[in-house]
């Protein structure tokens, strides 16, 4: 059976059906539409002003690859310049291939690339070392949580080094939808209250961050990468994602199958959630060690590193999390928390 004609150009044969609208498009028209939609998000959300130096968090994976590619196409129109910033987490067997993919991209697209390593930034701690320290044996479930905290810090550091004014990350609509589901399931009202937007404006001296792909579904991101023949690294990280995110991800896939708009419907819900003032986290202050935003004396990254150096990493993260929801029930899914013990915070 011959494919129907493209609904946009009416010239080429359609090569795909858009998951949400069901519209049949040719590859070129789909990619153009995808780019136009990202452009729309950036413009309507006033995410990246002309003249911005934008650090793209590049992992070599499909999301950041697509993001970098689209922004590179849009950069002249937006009047921005791009810098790739890759983070070397120090995960053996995973790092080399991922970084190689980023290097190939940088070379092909002629974009400047900066690599920052956990090991250099965090006093010798690689992710593998963190994992060994947290689990004792094997690779711990909570690694992803630790890694997320450290990567955020590393990306910020890398962006500063290249003189960036803004940071963009490749989170797509599915990531957002997954996150809102997860936050409900584990009762994280603080995160629900903060979430929903397109990013953070850059409080407390942090660089503004945003997610230009927030309204693009995972499927469309993959489709775009496919039709633009993008070369990306598709291996999963050796550390299994937090068990709970796996559940949410699985649920989301089913929801999307039952109703194609479900992912964006969840994003809409997240945008509109209204939480009681008491549920909102207190206005953050500055970390006493690094000056970054912190709701406690130490920011999450410093607290984690502090815990690692004392051999009590779980405690560090747990305190930060628990602070948002004091009444969290032990045994709440996804909560790696142990009973917190108060400790004096050393300064230097």
């Amino acid at each position: 059976m011959p494919a129907p004609p493209c609904a946009s150009c009416h010239a080429a044969r359609a090569a795909l059906r858009r998951p949400r609208s069901g519209q049949a498009l040719c590859g070129a028209c789909f990619c153009a539409a995808f780019e136009a939609e990202v452009l729309h998000t950036v413009l309507a959300g006033r995410l990246l002003p002309p003249g911005a130096v934008v650090a793209v968090g590049a992992s070599g994976g499909k999301d950041s690859t697509v993001l970098a590619h689209v922004l590179r196409a849009l950069a002249p129109r937006l009047g921005i310049s791009l810098q790739l910033v890759a983070v070397d987490e120090g995960i053996g067997g995973y790092r080399d291939a991922a970084l190689a993919a980023v290097r190939r991209q940088a070379a092909r697209w002629e974009l400047p690339l900066t690599v920052v390593a956990y090991e250099d930034l965090f006093g010798g701690w690689t992710m593998d070392a963190v994992a060994r320290s947290t689990a004792g044996s094997g690779r711990s479930r909570s690694c992803c949580t630790f890694c997320g905290v450290l990567r955020r810090r590393a990306l910020e550091e890398g962006a500063r080094r290249v003189g960036a004014t803004h940071i963009v990350t490749g989170h797509n609509a599915d990531d957002m939808a997954e996150t809102v589901l997860m936050n409900f399931l584990r009762g994280d009202a603080g995160r629900l209250a903060r979430g929903g937007g397109l990013g953070s404006p850059g409080e407390g001296g942090a660089l503004p961050r945003c997610r230009p792909l927030q309204f693009a579904s995972q499927k469309e991101v993959v489709l775009y990468a496919h039709f633009r023949r993008l070369d990306y690294f598709s291996e999963e990280c050796v550390y299994a994602p937090e068990a709970f995110r796996g559940h949410a991800r699985d649920l989301l896939k089913r929801l999307e199958a039952a109703r194609p708009s479900a992912v964006l419907d969840l994003v809409h819900s997240a945008e509109r959630l209204a939480l009681a003032p008491a549920a909102r986290p207190p206005r953050p202050g500055a970390c006493s060690r690094c000056g970054a935003l912190a709701s406690r004396t130490l920011c999450q990254a410093c607290a984690l590193l502090d815990g690692l150096n004392r051999g009590r990493p779980r405690l560090a993260i747990g305190k930060g999390r628990r602070g948002l929801d004091e009444e969290a029930t032990p045994g709440t899914p996804g909560d790696p928390v142990r009973p917190p013990a108060s400790k004096a915070v050393p300064t230097f």
Binding site: R254, D265, V267, E271
Partner: protein, 585 residues
């Protein structure tokens, strides 16, 4: 709060579930004397009396804490026949007949909506996985271990039929499998009138036994509703502490007078207007064939089970609202349990109802103004309900199970229900965590003050519209702009485009100069869409045509369009900040 963790442990097939039998010397955790009969969670074994006290206390505490129901107020109990709402009716019945100061002081009536309309459930909402969701047998009676519990589910607002557990009583001649609750479930296309009459025959004796005034309405009656059902009537002053106390005083005084004349009864009281004739036969009559036909057609036309369930909830809510108003009830009680509300919260989240979660799942729901919906069972878990109903022989309606093969993935509702119940088996605090988080949600919109009376309401769910500007950087804007970008390719969007008004978002190419609905009086479908919230828009996309909707919805939509159009015409003559009625829609 849901204080009790449920654990729906799944025993290996063929193996008797592990029953935590109390050792002979174990006593009730409360009274420390009696033999426990129920274990709600590990370590909490209650004797019969203490469990009852615990259960009743939760119900009374929920009502007492909120102080929303005034003494002497007329309250309509929405009874689906399922265990949770049955238990609620029972609690009210007992509460009203109690003596002394503990007595409930409102006036109750019961409504039962007969939804066994052919076509409403072309696909039964039955879970293929339900056998996995069974609770561990915890009946601490002899022979309790090999019990089979059979949950029936229906994830529908207002009438949550909970996961119903019907363990046979020891010595009962009924096998557990001969039970299956499934009110309105499985009524497939072409169900005979006979079967409907049979349901009513089961329902009526229970209603009569309550002694309350009761109403049985067929869902088809929505085809004779007036458009005014969709008006948000001005709300009576919400019960301040002082108003509540005053009401209590006047009620007690009145009771004193009545008491002198032979004792207060729930259906007595001179301040009540005379009841409309409540001839059960006339109210429970089968609906006109034409209406049945129209309703079947409407439901058969809906493309997805998800939209079908949402439509059913919407119509049922309107019908109950109408009945409440027609008979002077100012509160409607529904039997949503803690478990059901957690599922509903997650379901509605996925349906794009994030803005309305506090309305949809909170204790009280004032969106309709004069009639407030309350959910007094929200602290009770399904498991507690099942235990209670069993121990105290609370009657509910059983209909034969029609086990059609609706797969779990058939609807958002089914998916979410199965997901939550399954997760609950792994993480016993799932339901209570979701429930607790829901308590932190508020009804005011995320940014800005609470929507005033004049803010436009969704035609169907009657919540304040949560529609973003068409070109905004939001999930809504992204969907409308993607249509724009497809039309305009390959010309890129520029920063200088004129933002169209929020009202005409879906209109492509007609954006300019479009006023509040004024531009498309020629397109009724678009008119209706404009009057819907985000989630209701998504649902209505699953209807090929809106024409089969009941007349009151179409008429009200037209009315609103006209009003908006008139408003547009006279806008420049109106003085802003005035308190006029015109702005209300």
């Amino acid at each position: 709060m849901c204080q009790v963790g449920e654990d729906y442990g799944e025993p290996a097939p063929g193996e008797p579930p592990p029953v935590p039998r109390p050792s002979r010397e174990q006593k009730c955790v409360k009274c420390k004397e009696a033999q426990p009969v129920v274990v709600i969670r590990a370590g909490d074994a209650f004797c019969r009396d203490c469990f009852k006290a615990f259960y009743v206390h939760k119900f009374r505490a929920m009502l007492g804490k909120n102080r929303l129901i005034f003494p002497g107020e007329k309250v309509l109990l929405a009874w689906s026949g399922g265990p949770s709402s049955s238990s609620m009716v029972w609690q009210v019945l007992e509460g009203l007949s109690q003596d002394s100061a503990k007595r409930l002081r409102f006036v109750a009536g019961v409504i039962f909506v007969d939804e066994r309309t052919p076509g409403v459930f072309t696909v039964a909402l039955r879970s293929a996985t339900r056998e996995k969701l069974l609770p561990k047998g915890k009946w601490l009676t002899p022979h309790s271990s090999a019990r089979k519990h059979r949950p029936a589910e229906r994830g529908l607002e207002g009438f949550p039929v909970e996961v119903a557990l019907h363990p046979a009583l020891p010595g009962s001649s009924l096998s557990p499998d001969s039970f299956c609750l499934g009110f309105s479930e499985g009524a497939a296309c072409g169900q005979s009138l006979e079967e409907r009459s049979k349901t009513l025959a089961e329902v009526k004796p229970i209603l009569q036994a309550t002694g309350f005034p009761w109403h049985v309405v067929a869902l088809e009656e929505v085809f004779s509703l007036p458009p005014s059902v969709l008006w948000c009537s001005a709300q009576e002053p919400v019960g301040s502490e002082r108003a509540y106390k005053a009401a209590v005083d006047s009620f007690l005084q009145q009771q004193h007078v009545l008491g002198a004349r032979g004792g207060p009864g729930p259906t007595q009281g001179e301040e009540q207007p005379p009841q409309p004739p409540l001839d059960p036969r006339s109210l429970a009559r089968l609906p006109a064939a034409a209406q049945t036909e129209a309703l079947s057609q409407l439901f058969c036309s809906v493309r997805t089970l998800t939209a079908k369930e949402e439509l059913l909830q919407t119509l049922r809510t309107h019908l109950i609202l109408h009945m409440a108003r027609a008979h002077g009830y100012s509160k409607v009680m529904t039997g949503d349990s803690c478990t059901r509300l957690a599922i509903k919260l997650m379901t509605n989240l996925a349906l794009g109802r994030g803005a309305f979660l506090a309305w949809d799942t909170g204790f009280s729901d004032e969106r309709h103004g004069d009639v407030v919906v309350v959910r007094p069972m929200r602290d009770h878990t399904l498991k507690e309900v099942a235990f209670y109903n069993r121990l105290f022989s609370v009657p509910s309606v059983f209909t034969p199970a029609v086990d059609t093969k609706a797969p779990e993935k058939a609807s958002i509702h089914r998916l979410m229900e199965a997901f939550i119940l399954r997760l609950q088996t792994q993480f016993p605090s799932t339901v209570s965590t979701v429930y607790r988080t829901s308590e932190k949600l508020v009804k005011a919109p995320r940014d800005g003050p609470a929507a005033g009376d004049s803010s436009p309401r969704c035609l169907l769910c009657m919540c304040a519209l949560d529609i973003d500007a068409a070109d905004s950087a939001t999930a809504f804007g992204a969907q409308t702009s993607s249509r724009l970008s497809q039309m305009q390719l390959p010309i890129p969007l520029t920063e200088t485009r004129t933002p169209p008004g929020p009202c005409c978002s879906p209109g492509v190419g007609r954006a300019q100069g479009c006023g509040q609905g004024a531009c498309r009086r020629e397109d009724p479908q678009a008119c209706i869409e404009e009057q819907l919230c985000y989630s209701c828009r998504v649902n209505m996309k699953d209807l090929p045509s809106l024409d089969p909707l009941p007349p009151y919805i179409l008429a009200e939509a037209q009315l609103r369009t006209q009003r908006a159009w008139v408003l547009q015409e006279i806008r420049d003559c109106l003085i802003e900040d005035s308190d006029n009625e015109v702005g209300q829609s």
